[in-house]
């Protein structure tokens, strides 16, 4: 018990540090909030334009699609808010040897590496994503219940584990390949698929690659289906298994990589 309290305190200290930091760079906070908001607006505009010309995409109506895209945005914002900067900086820190800093701290390196900085702009925009989801629910005439919200939150959290694992896995490659600047590009390319409904994948190859091999599609579709009342518990089990498998893989690769780390200072 004491042990876990230690980590809660560490996390709260990081949170405090991040908020103080944001207050120092207010213009930065504002600018990045606007930047993220603009990208979300771009995604919503795409939906608007497509549904101006057609009634349904792979059986999904406009507001159902909005629910899916809102879910995908929410997960991405949460990932940005809690983990992105930290994982993204692993590469740079390993290259410069600043990674030593984490190894000398009293705690699990993976925990320290993952939670040092929080991005309040990502968290602020997750509220916008929730707004989109509520707006879509209203239009669909679906009730918002406590139970439904709790289930949705749980599924989104599991999805977040998958996203986190994927990013950690990519970032951990830095222990082997020093120059890993394309990583964020590859993550975004994969994550984009989470805005597509599962039923849009028609050919065998794309289904196997994007639905089964890479987790992006399942991760957003399961929570969105839960909101729409089409939840299949088999899919929930599949999602949970996926999260466990990816997390185990990512943590293993991270620790393998850690063993290779030889610092870089002179």
């Amino acid at each position: 018990m004491r042990f876990s309290m230690h980590y809660v305190r560490l996390w709260l200290a990081s949170l405090r540090y991040s908020i103080v930091r944001t207050m120092m760079f207010r213009f930065d906070f504002l600018l990045w909030t606007v930047v993220e908001f603009a990208w979300m607006a771009v995604n919503l505009l795409l939906i608007q334009v497509i549904y101006d010309h057609t009634e349904s995409v792979a059986g999904w109506g406009k507001y159902e699609m909005l629910l899916l895209v809102g879910t995908s945005m929410l997960m991405q914002r949460l990932l940005m808010g809690f983990f992105w900067t930290n994982l993204f900086e692993i590469g740079r820190n390993v290259r410069t040897g600043q990674f030593d800093f984490y190894l000398t701290q009293p705690g699990q390196p993976l925990f320290l590496v993952s939670t040092r900085k929080l991005d309040p702009d990502g968290l602020a925009n997750s509220l916008v994503a929730i707004g989109v989801i509520v707006y879509a629910l209203r239009h669909l005439g679906l009730p918002i219940t406590v139970g439904g919200a709790a289930l949705y939150a749980a599924l989104v959290s599991i999805g977040l584990v998958v996203h986190y694992s994927l990013l950690l896995l990519l970032a951990s490659l830095t222990f082997w390949i020093v120059k890993t600047e394309g990583i964020e590009g590859s993550y975004f390319t994969i994550a984009e698929f989470s805005r597509l409904p599962r039923s849009a994948f028609k050919s065998l190859v794309t289904t196997v690659v994007f639905v089964y091999a890479l987790p992006a599609v399942v991760v957003s579709n399961v929570p969105a289906s839960a909101l729409l009342g089409r939840l299949d518990w088999l899919h929930v089990a599949w999602l949970a298994g996926l999260a466990l498998a990816w997390l185990a893989l990512a943590v293993t690769v991270f620790h393998r990589g850690l063993r290779r780390y030889t610092s870089a200072s002179s």
Binding site: V35, I50, G182, F201
Partner: protein, 270 residues
């Protein structure tokens, strides 16, 4: 002649350094193909219930996206804004203030050589993937006016892309970090430039207004000429005139920013 030799030399150096990074281009190109896959799935599903959107069928629309992909590597600015910002921050820019080399001309020569290399290399992944999308390709008859207007639009689009990126890079004279501005402009460009959806699918009124903005001329306009979304020579000529005007405006903007930035700039160290 000496002017040509001077920047010709920069161009040659740029070619060499672009070839060093050929793997980067190749990886970028491969990711673009994955993105193209997403576009095919999304728009394929959107077209499943309708025959046409905005007067074009699914093949014409997918062809548009393939052309946009190729154009991004041929005329698009990748990270020129970021590089220019870095050169200002690191003080690398100082040497240009002492030498008889125009910084805009220098960067433009590098841009031209880099796009020549990436514009050719993008055809490697495209050709490799062509068996999957060959059936979707459909082009209008390539009349002489369409070909020449398309080429002119590509050259002007490259000039516009570069000059706008140059302007964003110059913001580093005023701001420590320009990455936020760059990603913000990229969002606007993605959307109003036509790489997210063909702009003619926008509601009529919005589309008419958008045609007077610079963004459609960065990407949509040349792609629309080459894929037949612009149907007549008159439309193309009118577009080219607006496009040329925006290039001039962007260049004036770049000049003003450069002059203003230098007044603010302090070169330190030696």
């Amino acid at each position: 002649m000496s002017l040509f030799r001077k920047y010709g030399h920069v161009f040659a150096v740029g070619l060499q350094s672009a070839l060093v990074y050929r793997w980067n281009f190749f990886i970028r190109g491969s990711f673009s193909l994955v993105h193209l896959c997403l576009i095919f799935i999304l728009w394929g599903a959107a077209f499943s219930g309708v025959d046409q959107m905005g007067g074009f069928d699914v093949r014409q629309t997918l062809t548009y996206f393939i052309v946009v992909l190729a154009l991004q590597f041929m005329v698009g600015a990748f990270n020129e804004d970021y590089q220019i910002g870095e050169e200002i921050r690191n003080g690398l820019i100082n040497q240009f203030l002492l030498k008889p080399v125009n910084y805009f001309g220098y960067r433009l020569s590098l841009f031209a050589s880099a796009r020549l290399v990436s514009g050719l290399l993008v055809f490697v992944p495209l050709l490799a993937a062509s068996p999957w999308f060959r059936d979707q390709l459909t082009f209008p008859a390539l009349e002489p006016w369409r070909l020449s207007a398309g080429l002119a639009a590509m050259v002007l689009a490259a000039a516009l892309q570069f000059t706008i990126a140059f302007c964003f890079g110059l913001l580093a004279f005023w701001f420590l970090e320009i990455q936020g501005f760059v990603i913000l402009s990229y969002a606007i460009e993605t959307c109003l430039g036509g790489s997210l959806f063909p702009l003619d699918l926008l509601p009529r009124g919005v589309f008419v207004v958008a045609q007077y903005l610079p963004f459609p001329y960065q990407m949509y306009f040349p792609a629309a000429i080459l894929t037949g979304r612009i149907a007549t020579p008159e439309e193309a000529t009118r577009g080219l005139a607006i496009q040329a005007a925006w290039v001039v405006i962007a260049m004036i903007g770049a000049r003003l920013l450069w002059a203003g930035g230098l007044r603010k700039h302090t070169a330190v160290g030696g």
